[in-house]
């Protein structure tokens, strides 16, 4: 029995997606989070996993950088960029509680090939809200250099980000975990601001969320991210591969929209 949808057929056989570019716009590198180690955190395991699925490019930030050690986290990413320049793309993380460290870290990493910024304000170990003054320099830097900003969000943070989204129009804002809470607000942001993209990663893999965004006319505004190695990229990929949307919209979500959001040249 066949479905007529090659994305589904490939997934059912565990074959790599090769009919379109696949860009994972939300990934991580690092051996552990505070409450769990990653089973196999090595770059080789990540590449092997990407090859099994047909992921062409993974856009990553360093896990230590999310929890308070940006320099070492960025070093992990830099190592990945040096070893696999065609497979990884780097987000800079900063220690947002220490303003004097922020700008030098941004400059240093931009020079060596990082092309985006990852911010993370919430969770078990809260950082600063996105409307805190310490973020202003980060967003200005992103705006001047036309860098995308991947923001961990869970609904409420969108209100904190809205003034920066309105002000920093050169920034492509990637709102992570779109729809995990307050789904209508994400739809409003994507419709209102042309520089906003909705990223999908969420471990719960809610049924119907991808279809909802597409039904709302946002097939050009949704980007696929896995949150690996925090999460399993395969499960997150399955949410799009099996979604009840057209193959053309799957192509957009899996790669084409990310290509535009990241301003990739090739």
């Amino acid at each position: 029995m066949t479905t007529g949808d090659r994305f589904v057929e490939k997934a059912l056989e565990g074959e790599p997606i090769d009919q379109c570019t696949v860009i994972d716009i939300h990934g991580h590198i690092g051996p552990e989070a505070p409450d769990f180690p990653i089973a196999d955190p090595g770059l080789e395991a990540m590449i092997a996993s990407m090859d099994r699925m047909g992921i062409d490019l993974a856009c990553v930030s360093g896990l230590p950088g999310l929890f308070g050690d940006a320099a070492r986290g960025n070093r992990l990413v830099q190592n990945a960029l040096e070893r696999y320049p065609d497979r990884f793309w780097g987000y800079i993380t900063v220690d947002i509680g220490y303003p004097k460290r922020i700008y030098p870290e941004l400059e240093r990493r931009l020079e060596v090939g990082f092309r985006g910024i990852k911010i993370w304000s919430t969770g078990l170990r809260p950082g600063l809200p996105y409307d805190h003054p310490n973020y202003e320099g980060v967003f200005d830097f992103a705006n001047v250099h036309r860098l995308p900003v991947l923001a961990h969000t869970w609904g409420d943070e969108l209100d904190q980000l809205e003034p920066a989204i309105q002000r920093s129009t050169n920034v492509h804002w990637l709102l992570a975990h779109a729809g995990a809470q307050q789904v209508e607000k994400y739809v409003r942001f994507a419709r209102t601001y042309p520089n906003v993209f909705l990223e999908l990663a969420w471990s719960k893999c809610p049924r119907g969320l991808v279809e909802y965004f597409v039904d709302e006319g946002l097939a050009d505004n949704v980007v696929w991210g896995s949150d690996a190695t925090f999460l399993d990229a395969a499960q997150q990929l399955g949410r799009v591969l099996f979604a009840k949307i057209s193959p053309r919209d799957k192509q957009k979500i899996l790669g084409e929209n990310a290509h535009r959001a990241l301003r990739l040249q090739t």
Partner: protein
């Protein structure tokens, strides 16, 4: 692969309508067809919302005539009226062709420790009947106590969390060989399934789809892209749960 058996489906409408999904038998069968799921172990939401035995009865009425839907009854330590005997409850399940049980201690108001539910665990162990229970319904101490007191009881943890190489579950898996995990969203762990198979073999993991809340394709893709051998993937897709169900014993004496 075109052969999956899922172990964690729940049918039944919520008391208040939520979203556009109505988890009926028709909807479940439609999802199974879309995802190539051949059989599903099914529970009923009314077991949580109204009462365990009311829900079981509703389940049997709704899945009647559907050979691909396999009932899992909610069970309680006190059994059901009028005899309130867990032994006769398990016998009644077997008489009705039910080969899986479901424990929901938080919803049904009892501690899952053996001092309270031991007679039930003993009856299930004797029948080799798999017992489904949500990960968050048991503590690590609960699982350890149950596993030590009833080492042959097949305990299948549903709704396992995404937490990496899990510091709670791994020691329990090492201690208790009849502890099984249902891999389904939100068990979304980078290289997690490969690591489980490498450390413990492939025979202790069964598949779930997270129906009705989750996109079942996530679980399918999670398995098919895990980098397992065809043999191990098939065991997790359907072989392990089929083996457990075949081993359920019905003693007619």
């Amino acid at each position: 692969m075109q052969n999956f058996v899922i172990c964690d489906a729940t049918i039944g409408l919520p008391r208040l309508r939520a979203g556009g999904i109505e988890p009926t038998v028709a909807d479940l069968l439609s999802e199974m067809g879309r995802l190539r799921v051949r059989k599903a172990i099914v529970r009923h939401r009314l077991c949580l919302d109204v009462g365990p035995y009311h829900g079981n009865q509703a389940l049997m009425e709704e899945i009647e005539g559907q050979p691909d839907l396999l009932a899992a009854w909610a069970v309680t330590p006190d059994g059901r009226p009028p005899d309130f005997s867990p032994v006769s409850l398990v016998k009644a399940m077997l008489d009705d062709g039910v080969k899986a049980a479901w424990l929901a201690p938080k919803a049904h108001g009892f501690p899952p420790q053996p001092w309270c539910a031991g007679a039930l665990y003993g009856a299930l162990e004797e029948a080799a009947m798999p017992l489904l229970v949500a990960h968050d319904d048991l503590t690590g101490d609960d699982i350890d106590a149950i596993g030590r007191a009833f080492p042959r009881l097949r305990l299948i943890l549903l709704e396992c969390p995404r937490l990496g190489r899990n510091r709670n579950l791994y020691p329990l898996l090492e201690r208790h060989e009849n502890l099984f995990l249902c891999v389904a969203p939100p068990f979304s762990v980078h290289c997690g399934l490969r690591d489980l198979c490498r450390r413990f073999g492939a025979h202790r993991w069964v598949l779930g789809s997270g129906y009705p809340e989750a996109e079942g394709g996530a679980a399918i893709a999670g398995l098919m892209y895990a980098g397992l051998s065809d043999e191990d993937a098939a065991a997790i897709a359907h072989g392990n749960i089929e083996r457990l169900l075949e081993e359920v014993r019905h003693d007619d004496r």
